[in-house]
């Protein structure tokens, strides 16, 4: 040890570590560095007194300054809400059809609506609003609407919901389960007929009988030509879009069991401005219809 050729009198001790003949001086630490270290300890203790720190059974010590991240978030939220109060009240009071004429309001409604949609609607309709066919959650991107696709119809559906028991103004209709009403053969015939009017290949021998059954049992809601009636929420059966699926199996299942989807009302959970915002957002996803004067 300490045989380094460069070692001179007055050099500090070495640590005894050696790598390829290179040794390490054991220099003393600067004293102010030590004081800085003590200072950080004092600072650390002071910090735990001033700020929430020590975990107790129920909650942590609150700290003398009364700081809390939740309070900070709440403050931030109320600041943003105050900043948006004007445009929110404008959104809540303007005619629904006028929103799109005001670019600033439209932009705000689309962005705010997208946020509302992700929080409240995406659980059923999906984050991309494409719905879930297997579960009967409608696709909101296409140009087919069960209860209407203009801004006012969308707004009404969101506000009051569908087939719920909470809102007396909810949209309501019910398809009966034909499993007890029609025979299996009759159901197969009407399935063939529906396939034919929607442009699919169908067993021609069944179709003509199916047409008769359709007129007797289905036309009152789905219309004589199968194009549906929006006031009743009865889907158009002639187009390429299906709520529960359009093949023979899915059609048979629906006619036998008659699933009826439910949507909650949102007036009790969302503000009018939020409902209008999400209506504007959904209207702008690609299928929005213009209101007939």
């Amino acid at each position: 040890m300490s045989t380094a050729p460069n070692k001179q009198p007055g050099d500090p001790e070495t640590t005894g570590h050696e790598w390829d003949g290179i040794e390490e001086f054991n220099n003393p630490l600067p004293r102010w560095w030590l004081w800085t270290f003590y200072l950080t300890i004092i600072w650390g203790i002071g910090y735990t007194i001033a700020y929430p720190a020590w975990p107790l059974i129920q909650e942590a010590t609150p700290g003398l300054l009364g700081y809390s991240t939740r309070a900070e978030v709440a403050e931030e939220i109320s600041r943003v809400e105050a900043a948006n109060a004007d445009i929110e009240s404008r959104l809540a009071s303007i005619e629904l059809t006028e929103i799109s004429a005001d670019p600033e309001l439209q932009q705000y409604a689309v962005n705010a609506g997208a946020a509302v949609f992700r929080s409240w609607c995406s659980q059923c309709h999906g984050s991309g609003a494409a719905g879930v066919q297997a579960a009967g959650y409608p696709n909101l991107l296409d140009d087919d609407w069960l209860w209407g696709g203009d801004i006012e119809a969308i707004h009404y559906t969101i506000a009051h919901g569908i087939r719920n028991t909470e809102d007396f103004d909810a949209r309501f209709s019910e398809m009966p389960a034909f499993g007890d009403i029609l025979s299996e053969e009759e159901i197969a015939q009407v399935v063939a007929y529906v396939q034919q009017i929607s442009g699919q290949e169908a067993d021609a021998t069944l179709v003509s009988a199916g047409a008769e059954i359709y007129l007797d049992n289905c036309a009152s809601c789905h219309g004589d030509n199968g194009e549906g009636i929006r006031d009743l929420g009865a889907p158009n059966l002639t187009d390429a879009i299906w709520l529960y699926g359009g093949d023979a199996e899915a059609l048979t299942y629906q006619i036998v069991n008659a699933r009826n989807g439910v949507m909650p009302p949102w007036t009790n959970r969302l503000s009018e401005a939020e409902i209008r915002a999400v209506a504007t957002y959904v209207h702008g996803l690609g299928g929005g219809e213009t209101l007939e004067e």
Partner: protein, 476 residues
């Protein structure tokens, strides 16, 4: 074993105060000029005006965090062009590699803010308290009225410099004249005051009190730069084969046996790091070259050639010991390593400049919506959605016409309008939902992927830009 070995080594030591003596010479003169230049650039830059027209800041260099823009004279960088900043950082890194491998720690010795401001603070110190000997005496003297007066004067001037330093920093982030008025009327944002306070404190403490300790204990560069130097690097060194054995030259005492070093301690006394360069290469040496000036001065006085302490390459030691001349500086500097750094530096630099000039004035990004990949419409046609971000980098409102070209039969449609025109106001970005529709049972509707090209055309100038993307059919 001697008794000192059994004693516990001291764990902590007080700082040895450093009192650098005034020195004059070629390097000191260069350092004064460079210091003036560096400080000048730092303090004056935010005040340079640059007319960009209405609605845009007229400050030549501005980091506009609120609007997420970086202005640098005629260049304006948007957040999506951050790669320019990344490129500049890469160039700064390569520049450091190049200079360190060629010239050692020149950054530390001349350009580092710690060096520049410490130099300035020492200048103030010398002006108030006198040169080295006077300062040593003052340090040792009692705290009487005179000492308090000198110390307080010095600290007050340091504080003014520190406030100006912290103050200049915030001007880079907002309009300087406006902010200056706000600062003086106490109506500026608290962030501005906090920033100034922090930078004032660090400047005051680092420049006035910590000085060489920042370089020795806090800064990572000395460790990193040591790894970038090699034996051909030009650095400050002591020709011990010429200087040793050192000793005072006294008449008639056999000065012939001694080297050129007369052990006058001039090199140690001028050193701002408080080290002895004659001990060899060391971590604490920032290669400020002041010892060269000091030694050259002494050599001239005793009638010896200059350069006992000098910029030199360590590989020349063997040659010089053998009585040969050292290689020329350029032989040392021009070697594969530095040439590699230079070419990398140049390539990145040219790449950035080219990218800057090739930047399109129509800036568009196409983000295909993949949730869901496609939508079936009631007539059986298949629709894809694309989110377009259109940026107008010019100062005039522009109207863009959108269209598409594809081998397949596809139709384009825009959300919220029956036209295929998007208005983008000056210096803004607009998002537009674009639909591309394939007819029922068409090739594109049934296939997996179909290529298409979206065109954006400025109706006024007929500038065009396109983006290639794909259309998703039913076969997923």
């Amino acid at each position: 074993m001697s008794s000192t070995d059994t004693e516990d080594p001291k764990l902590y030591a007080a700082r040895e105060p450093v009192f650098p003596r005034r020195v004059s010479g070629a390097f000191r003169t260069f350092k004064w000029w460079f210091m003036g230049l560096a400080l000048g650039i730092y303090y004056i830059t935010p005040w340079i005006r640059w007319d960009r027209g209405p609605n845009l800041p007229d400050q030549a260099v501005l980091v506009d965090l609120a609007h997420r823009r970086f202005f640098f004279f005629m260049v304006e960088i948007w957040p999506h062009e951050f790669y320019f900043v990344a490129g500049l950082l890469i160039m700064a890194g390569l520049g450091l590699f190049l200079f360190t491998s060629a010239l050692g720690r020149v950054w530390c010795g001349y350009a580092c803010p710690q060096t520049v401001w410490t130099d300035l603070f020492i200048l103030v110190e010398r002006w108030v308290e006198g040169d080295r000997n006077a300062r040593v005496r003052l340090w040792k003297s009692k705290w009487d009225f005179r000492k308090w007066r000198l110390r307080l004067t010095k600290w007050a001037i340091w504080l003014l410099i520190a406030v100006a330093t912290g103050g200049a920093w915030v001007f880079y982030f907002t309009d300087a004249p406006t902010l200056l008025v706000d600062l003086l009327t106490f109506s500026a944002h608290p962030v501005a005051y906090t920033t100034i306070a922090i930078l004032t404190a660090t400047t005051f403490l680092f420049g006035g009190f910590f000085r060489e300790q920042i370089c020795i204990y806090a800064c990572p560069w000395p460790r990193i730069q040591a790894a970038m130097m090699d034996e051909d690097t030009i650095t400050v060194g002591y020709r011990d084969w010429r200087g040793e054995p050192r000793g005072k030259h006294r008449k008639g005492e056999g000065a012939e046996a001694l080297g050129d070093c007369i052990d006058c301690m001039a090199c140690v006394n001028v050193c701002p790091m408080g080290i002895d360069i004659r001990d060899g290469q060391q971590l604490a040496c920032i290669t400020c070259a002041l010892c060269i000036d000091a030694c050259d001065d002494v050599m001239e006085k005793i009638g010896k050639p200059r350069g006992l302490i000098d910029y030199m390459a360590l590989s020349d030691e063997v040659r010089e010991r053998g009585g040969k001349k050292p290689l020329s500086i350029w032989t040392h500097i021009l070697r594969p390593r530095t040439m590699l750094y230079t070419s990398l530096y140049t390539i990145v630099g040219i790449g950035l400049v080219v990218a800057l000039f090739l930047r399109q004035e129509i800036d568009v990004t196409v983000e295909p919506v993949r949730n869901p990949t496609f939508v079936t419409l009631s007539d059986g046609s298949v629709r894809n959605t694309y989110n377009l971000r259109l940026r107008n980098l010019t100062l005039e409102d522009r109207r863009f016409h959108l269209s598409l070209t594809s081998d397949a039969l596809l139709r384009i449609d825009l959300e919220g309008t029956d036209e295929l025109v998007v208005d983008v106001p000056a210096n803004q970005m607009v998002q537009q939902r674009v639909y591309v529709i394939a007819p029922p049972r068409s090739e594109a509707a049934t296939a997996s992927l179909t290529d298409l090209r979206l065109w954006v055309e400025d109706l006024e100038s007929t500038d065009r830009a396109y983006r290639d993307t794909v259309f998703n059919g039913r076969d997923q």
